[in-house]
Symmetry: C2
Subunit: 194 residues, 2 copies
Amino acid sequence: MTLDDGALDVLFRTARTRNGWTDTPVADETLHALYDILKFGPTSANCSPARFVFIRTREAKEKLKPALNPGNVDKTMAAPVTVIVAYDPIFYEHLPKLFPHADARAWFAGNPDLADETAFRNGTLQGAYLIIAARGLGLDCGPMSGFDKAKVDQSFLAEQGWKSNFLVNLGHGTDANLFPRSPRLDFDEACVLA
Amino acid sequence: MTLDDGALDVLFRTARTRNGWTDTPVADETLHALYDILKFGPTSANCSPARFVFIRTREAKEKLKPALNPGNVDKTMAAPVTVIVAYDPIFYEHLPKLFPHADARAWFAGNPDLADETAFRNGTLQGAYLIIAARGLGLDCGPMSGFDKAKVDQSFLAEQGWKSNFLVNLGHGTDANLFPRSPRLDFDEACVLA
């Protein structure tokens, strides 16, 4: 089965990173539905290192505000939800449940460099799955790297020991402050046939 | 617009990482179509650092073989296409074209740590977009981290100076050596509502 053009447009071709947001809220049920889709995206040995903090109260938004780069403050405060896409550096403690086929925990427990790289790579893959799954549910996204990771980690992730990776505003976008669609690299600039 | 359940199944819920492959080839036109979808996925400042080497000849497959972990050899040699998902460490040289709104090149040119992290994070996002877009085109995927990056870089990427990130087998999958679907973390294990 292949997706029709309308679906590929919604996910990729006409979807846009949004900087303006309507007041329409995003229900907690939608966030659960979102996780229940993105969790099925593939990760190495099913390691699933990503963790997600869904910031949707005014109080939590105010706690996030001092960590944001100035250019990201207004749009983030206006978005119904801001997701901290994070990862668990000791994700491998869950591998006996997540990958029962082998002792995958042992591959990472004594190898911090491999564990860090695996957490960052696969946690990032899962962040992309979140973006695409959100679009599939009719939401718009505004992913951002411009924030103080140490501040976010201290304010939101210290208890669990998770590490922040990037942020994604979620909601229903408007055309406010929308960039014109920027060019992409041509196939021959980014790809090689071998 | 939201995607219907069938589309979400194809992309996430019933899609599986494949270890067996039919002989049905993947046309070069399909690889072009794949890139023309995935390239629209969002990256930070549209930096688009991912590069893709599509290995589909017997000669190139034999060149890849010595770099593969033993458990990944047979399935990779059988797959119609294996993609090296790579990134360009000096991706920022393209930013005057890709992000004409600001002098984004200057953010990275003198800051190798930020450039490396940005290339890895955003190149990985684009690898996820490749996986999802391929599924949307009716292809199956088999992503892999088990290979010798230095060997792949030397054999395939030295001329361009690109760095390998992970591999993805592409084609039409069979149920051969298919793992049972492994469990995922529950919402409350991976998510926090704030």
